[in-house]
Subunit: 158 residues, 3 copies
């Protein structure tokens, strides 16, 4: 692969984690859905080990929760082109939010730092997430939320 092709792939894929953050923060779950391939998997940073399967299940996470005031700050976006249609990457995410009062500006309930291991695939002329595997590393303030495990149905397994 020549340097210019590699650069274009890395540039295009490198936008995906930023667009994911934008759509998540804007509450635009329909646009967020389109960032994923039809058969993508998504493993949440706050509950790794329970990947969600497919666009429907992934969209539902963001569609069916109450509105929150949240910012996902994305840094350290590294992309590696594997072929003309496949790439992978890693990135960090800093999450700050307020679930009670959603009219900005508000104070945040802690600063949470995690990240993703991503796989990207070119489908119908657009690069998309084939998989996102999240993790949580550190937090300053706040308490780590405790979710009940998602059902198989919610995870798109049934």
């Amino acid at each position: 692969m020549d340097a210019a092709t590699r650069l274009l792939i890395e540039h295009e894929c490198g936008k995906l984690p930023l667009l994911f953050a934008k759509y998540a923060d804007d509450g635009d779950h329909a646009a967020l859905r389109e960032l994923f391939t039809a058969d993508a998997t998504y493993d949440r940073p706050f509950q790794p080990g329970y990947p969600f399967h497919g666009q429907d299940a992934i969209q539902a996470i963001f569609r069916d929760r109450p509105p929150i005031l949240v910012r996902h700050l994305v840094t350290n976006v590294l992309v590696e082109a594997i072929s003309a249609t496949e790439a992978r990457g890693t990135n960090y995410v800093v999450m700050m939010s307020n679930h009670a009062q959603i009219e900005p500006p508000q104070s945040a309930n802690g600063i949470f730092v995690g990240g993703f291991e991503d796989e990207y695939r070119l489908v119908d002329g657009a690069w998309r997430f084939a998989s996102r595997k999240g993790h949580l590393a550190l937090h300053e303030g706040g308490t780590i939320p405790s979710f009940p495990p998602p059902t198989d149905e919610a995870r798109g397994l049934k």
Copy 2:
């Protein structure tokens, strides 16, 4: 627009929010001024709704305040090329500062997370801000500063 042209525009415009942060943090108000078009507008994140008009009024914000120790961490820089001479974008900014003691390192008075909606224009061969519209979303620690509304004169309206 072909992919290479688009990439170059996005790359060049994507530097502007980082250069803005660099010049603001370095106290280089003259260089900061040159990032804006002559008729640009700038709406401050801590006081949205009172846009400043023109290079003189924008430069004066940074020139006429006491020196502070500040860092603007810029993330989530997304740029969309509209034409060969116009682009727009969004980005997040994390602001930390100490106004009392300016010799680094110092403790910060809170962590403030906001961002900008930007418009970029190619003028005389260089991409510049045609407008920056700031907002504040969340903060961890610290208190949101309360400014008196700027005068019309300060805002470049007279």
Copy 3:
């Protein structure tokens, strides 16, 4: 230098601060070593003024410390191509860590914001750090660690 060449150089060099963070956070001191030229210097953000000289001395900093849970969030990556084989740049780094408990997730001991002035050089077809000069600017929470000055031997001067 034409715009495409400049873009490629800035893209390649812009990855180096992110790879440095990745290898530091992953504890991969062997890969981190290879990001530097043989005669590179590295001046630590928490102890500027005592540059380490050469790949061996730089690798040893990361190899010989106890394992820690750490994240280096890299932002504001600006690169300026000087020639076909030389570039320079600046970037900010937010550091959060826990030295006592290293199994993620953990609470962090403060948020430290600093950065680097970098020089990059093309050696054997790969861009590398010729020098990294760190500084610390602000912190929220935590206390600034106090290290004894490194020996000349540790710094690669003997």
